[in-house]
Symmetry: C2
Subunit: 283 residues, 2 copies
């Protein structure tokens, strides 16, 4: 089923290029235009002739006749791109993004697009991997992954964007920007920061412990291999919720340390049982 | 190459049964005897006729003519089993264990066996999985995993035990009991406890966040699914080093929280880069 006639993808990284492939593979759109800041990436896109119908030199050119625009550039550039395209958007078109923080981005994008004929809906498809760039893109990246759609009310635009993400295989959840940021602070940002802290602690030991590390340490710290560059803006944009999450974690850690100091076996056992039960009940 | 003529395995859980399979598959021993406390497990062992040559009703019976004895019971029972077999061991035989903490266990086992004709060498093969019991045992469990052998000096007994673990595919490292406990406190115990604390923190949010969790949270907390029962004795036996590791981790967490509070981007970026580099350089 065709959801949008023409879609413009701005930014052809892992997410943007994978979305283009997914939309084409599942026949959800007729045409996909793409813009990338990098000529090298544009050249790679030109070779993907069954994915990209147009490879544009500017974001304005890419969005000019698009019914939906998906901004897939790094978080810190999303609002800037929204500003740049605001006067080139088609009447009645919809703009969304894939930023991993929503409060600041939705506010800035709504402002940037306030004088445009387009409607903005925030998205956060939670898909990806440590591998980045168009070279690793794949049509099935979104399969069965969660996606947040942020809109204060259920508008036709929010419904159309939700259908697009459902169309590429995602489980879509509607949330407020504030709740989104509280959720990702805990299940994503806290997880990365704690795993990084674990690496640094083990790295601080007087001897290199990596030869002795098994799959437990390897799995627990795998997320740390992701690109560190994205964190500057994530932490700036979601500082309040990340701090809340870190302090909740620290309170729990303090409870644990006290229990180990006092060899309080019932408390330690209850914690481990609760954690295991929570983990085991994950689908 | 035959390393031991007869080996006795005491305890036929995942490690004990896998070791028996590995020793037989690689033709490192002539005969394997086994004892398990549970009649159900003994019955399963009797069906593994190409692995176990004798299934014994008592540990004393199992060790009577063994050249090497591997105590594979849960950590808290290792020293007790050493006591029980001390008067039944063959002259010149070697006893080892697979306990995940070495200071307390080696001290207690050396004491338990001080009047026996056998020599004790501590081992900690770092292999396993969340799956426990003889049903999940496999000959390749030890392949390329690290194994610690604890002996104050390089005795023929320590060398023979090292050869056994190398024979089943492990990378063997000789360490003191104290260094062993410091190492596993950081790469194993800390990792489990931090991952558990992460689960509890996320579980404490007002909404069930598991539907939104991706592979990052899943991998980071996978170790939490292990059996919680083993931790009572691990924490009691390795309390000092676990506390040191937890406090090192907490110091690093405090540094991170301060950096997030102050939006100190250079510190945050440097931490994430160092953590990523450390992780990426893991073999």
């Amino acid at each position: 089923m065709i959801i949008f006639n023409r879609v413009a993808i701005l930014g052809a990284g892992l997410l943007g290029a994978s979305l283009a492939k997914a939309l084409k593979k599942r026949k959800l759109v007729n045409r996909v235009g793409v813009w990338s800041r990098s000529e090298g990436t544009r050249q790679k896109c030109r070779l993907l002739t069954d994915v990209f119908d147009e490879v544009c030199q500017s974001p304005q050119e890419a969005v000019a006749d698009a019914d939906a625009v998906v901004i897939c550039v790094p978080t810190e550039n999303i609002a800037e791109i929204a500003s740049e395209i605001s006067q080139s958007l088609k009447e009645g078109s919809i703009v969304t993004d894939v930023g991993s923080v929503k409060g600041v981005i939705c506010r800035d994008c709504l402002e940037a697009l306030s004088g445009s004929p387009a409607e903005f809906v925030g998205s956060h498809p939670m898909a990806g991997s440590e591998k980045i760039g168009v070279d690793y893109s794949e049509a099935d990246l979104f399969e069965n992954r969660p996606c947040f759609v942020v809109a204060d009310e259920i508008t036709p635009a929010a419904e159309a964007i939700s259908m697009m993400w459902k169309g590429v295989g995602m489980r879509v959840y509607g949330v407020s920007a504030r709740e989104h940021d509280a959720i990702v602070a805990r299940i994503s940002h806290l997880v990365h920061l704690v795993a990084g802290t674990l690496c640094l602690t083990v790295a601080g030991y007087k001897r290199d412990l990596r030869p002795f590390s098994g799959p437990g340490f390897r799995d627990t710290t795998r997320v740390v291999s992701g690109s560190p560059e994205i964190w500057d803006s994530i932490i700036a944009d979601n500082q309040t919720e990340i701090l809340s999450a870190l302090n909740e974690f620290k309170d729990s850690l303090d409870e644990l340390i006290a229990a180990v100091e006092n060899l309080d076996k019932p408390v330690i056992a209850a914690r481990l049982r609760r954690a295991k039960q929570y983990r085991d009940e994950m689908k």
